[in-house]
């Protein structure tokens, strides 16, 4: 594996603070800031509503996937119930807003806190179970939550679902994709920052230590049970927040949206993006959301050349479904470290060119 720290020459770090920055070089930091500024400007630059929808989708799914990556990628716990927590966040936020009139912008983080509590509860088995057994335990939590959504009329509206109100700030309604985009972007940037900071401080290291060698982690003074359960809690916070953003974006939450399929898709995102990597999560989520779109464009291209063939239209639907699965398999075989590793390889190739070693 190529060394992860390929620092360009001229980078002299003269203090420990400079050696623990989030960005390796001022250039990468500038790129990232420029990216956020570009995103801020995007709605004003005449991007179509459809593309904005995709970006918003990437946003809230990324937040939830980031939580899963802290749990699965960093702490090494497996979870097949992430969609349940995602859904709980959506319902909880709508519930807080409908029942108690909590403003939507406040209800979203509150819902995330509620989901954290739930995650800590469902995380208790993780204190004792590992591997496949834990997978089945979280699988159970997925079904418990799904069933809860369908039955708890007081909370989720049962089978008819719940209306999720629109957000408003200082009396102005945040309606439409253009305005909501900023809400999602704000939370995405915040959560990415919090997540990255977590991973470079004490508890983040403890998570990775538990993943890499739990026995020696324990001898280093890390309470395994505490950190395994805590990891579930933190991951649920992210899931709940992502879910709340999703609910208020659609304006309507229904139990059908949070099946095991979505849980698997979250896992797909972090596998494709790169386990344990914050940037990888963003890449993987974008990949998952954009892959069907790319296929659509590709099929559109074929259609333009070959004319409207019947099997193309039906084939597209299959291809969209199959492509995600195929992508996961191909990544597992050829790039198990995910897109983020591939990106590092490309960067180092570029830096070292023409000497590839």
């Amino acid at each position: 594996m190529i060394s992860t720290s390929l620092i360009p020459c001229g980078q002299y770090k003269t203090s420990y603070a400079k050696d623990t920055t989030l960005f390796e070089t001022p250039v990468s930091r500038a790129f990232c800031v420029a990216g956020v500024v570009l995103l801020l400007a995007l709605p004003q630059l005449g991007v179509s509503n459809y593309h904005l929808t995709l970006l918003i989708q990437i946003g809230y799914l990324s937040i939830a996937a980031l939580g899963l990556n802290i749990l699965v990628g960093s702490t090494g716990q497996i979870s097949l119930g992430h969609a349940g927590f995602f859904g709980f966040g959506a319902f909880a936020s709508a519930w807080l807003n409908n029942k108690f009139g909590v403003p939507v912008l406040l209800a979203m983080p509150l819902a995330a806190v509620m989901t954290t509590g739930l995650g800590l509860l469902f995380g208790i088995p993780a204190g004792r179970l590992k591997g496949l057994y834990l997978a089945i335990a979280t699988f159970a939590s997925q079904f418990i939550l799904e069933d809860f959504f369908a039955r708890a009329d007081w909370f989720s509206g049962g089978s008819s679902g719940a209306m999720a109100g629109t957000a408003s700030l200082f009396g102005f309604d945040i309606t439409g994709d253009r305005a909501y985009f900023y809400v999602v972007l704000f939370w995405l940037v915040t959560m990415v920052l919090l997540g990255s900071n977590l991973l470079r401080s004490r508890d983040g290291r403890a998570f990775v230590a538990v993943r890499d060698h739990y026995l020696s982690a324990e001898v280093m003074g890390i309470n395994l049970t505490k950190y395994r359960i805590l990891s579930f809690g933190i991951s649920s916070f992210y899931a709940g927040l992502g879910g709340a953003l999703y609910g208020h974006y659609l304006g309507f939450v229904s139990a059908e949206g949070f099946t095991i399929l979505l849980s698997i898709q979250f896992l797909g995102m972090i596998i494709i993006g790169g386990m344990g990597s914050v940037m990888g999560t963003l890449m993987g989520t974008a990949f998952m959301v954009l892959l069907p779109e790319v296929l659509e464009i590709g099929f559109g291209g074929i259609r333009a050349v070959a004319g409207d063939v019947a099997w193309l239209t039906s084939g597209l639907a299959y291809a969209k479904q199959a492509s995600i699965g195929l992508a996961i398999i191909l990544f597992l075989i050829f790039e198990p470290d995910g897109l983020v590793h591939r990106w590092k390889l490309i960067k180092s190739y570029w830096k070292l060119y023409p000497f590839s070693y």
């Binding site: 594996m1 060394s3 992860t4 720290s5 420990y16 603070a17 050696d19 623990t20 919090l194 997540g195 900071n197 977590l198 470079r200 401080s201 004490r202 508890d203 983040g204 290291r205 403890a206 990775v208 230590a209 993943r211 890499d212 060698h213 026995l215 020696s216 982690a217 324990e218 001898v219 280093m220 003074g221 890390i222 309470n223 395994l224 805590l230 933190i234 344990g276």
Partner: protein
């Protein structure tokens, strides 16, 4: 020194796994500032003994005291917090973390920032992290591993991994540090380096060391006191020279001809 409470006291510790008796009523104590070695043939229960001290195993009988405090019922992480650090016989580094992070994990119980303050980072957590980074750098300097600071621990060669593991155990700032075969599988040069680190650790850093080691030359040269285990029982305890000349130890280590057996056993 003799009057003070020993840093570590093991009192009548027995350990059984089903029908196997790994340890039988072993007692010893380690004084502050001592470099103490446990030796014995393979399967004698040396690592089991360390595991009883570090908390991986709970003894079936007997107690373990750290500075007079009974730590027998405590879990490994609680004992680490109280001041027991250790390395492992089979490497147990966090393979996907950098060397620096590996050592920083050792300071887990000394750091105060948690997932909330750590996530916010700026204000508090950062300055704390940097303060501890400075301490970690001292250890890195001492063990001469600054060149691999940022390397992933899993990619390092064996000898360096052993050193990183020692660094990680030192970062705990333990009252007593347990080294499980720190020199196993090393060549002569690496052994000499490691012996020097252990002596310096003891003399310069003032750490109390308990070491399991098979290389008799090293053990006899650097240890202050040695105990010998055989089949889970303590058969000798004393200065290196005394132990070396003990007949039972000779039998345990070198073995005897069949007809000499009872004779040699009778001497001890």
């Amino acid at each position: 020194m003799a009057a003070a409470t020993p840093v570590l006291e093991v009192r009548n510790v027995s350990l059984g796994f089903g029908g196997v008796r790994a340890l039988t009523e072993v007692s010893f104590h380690v004084n502050k500032g001592e470099l103490f070695s446990i030796i014995g043939p393979n399967g004698a229960g040396k690592t089991s003994m360390l595991n009883c001290i570090s908390g991986r195993y709970t003894p079936t009988a007997g107690r373990v005291f750290l500075e007079g405090r009974d730590v027998t019922p405590l879990s490994p992480n609680q004992r680490a917090t109280l001041g027991i650090g250790r390395t492992f016989q089979n490497l147990a580094l966090f393979g996907h973390m950098s060397v620096l992070d590996n050592i920083m994990v050792g300071r887990h119980h000394l750091l105060k920032n948690n997932f909330l303050t750590g996530s916010v980072y700026w204000g508090g957590a950062q300055s704390e992290e940097l303060r501890h980074r400075r301490k970690v750098e001292d250890i890195i300097d001492f063990l001469e591993i600054p060149h691999i600071r940022k390397a992933h621990a899993g990619t390092l060669p064996y000898g360096l991994r052993k050193r990183v593991e020692l660094a990680r155990a030192m970062a705990v700032e333990p009252k007593i540090i347990l080294l499980d075969e720190p020199m196993a599988g090393m060549n002569l040069e690496e052994k000499e380096d490691m012996a020097r680190y252990i002596v310096d650790l003891n003399e310069e850093w003032g750490m109390t060391v308990v070491m399991i080691e098979h290389d008799m030359g090293v053990v006899m040269d650097i240890s202050h006191r040695v105990i010998v285990l055989e089949f889970g029982r303590k058969i000798a305890d004393g200065l290196p020279d005394e132990v070396m000349n003990n007949e039972r130890v000779k039998v345990a280590y070198l073995g005897v001809e069949d007809d000499e057996g009872p004779q040699a056993g009778a001497v001890a």
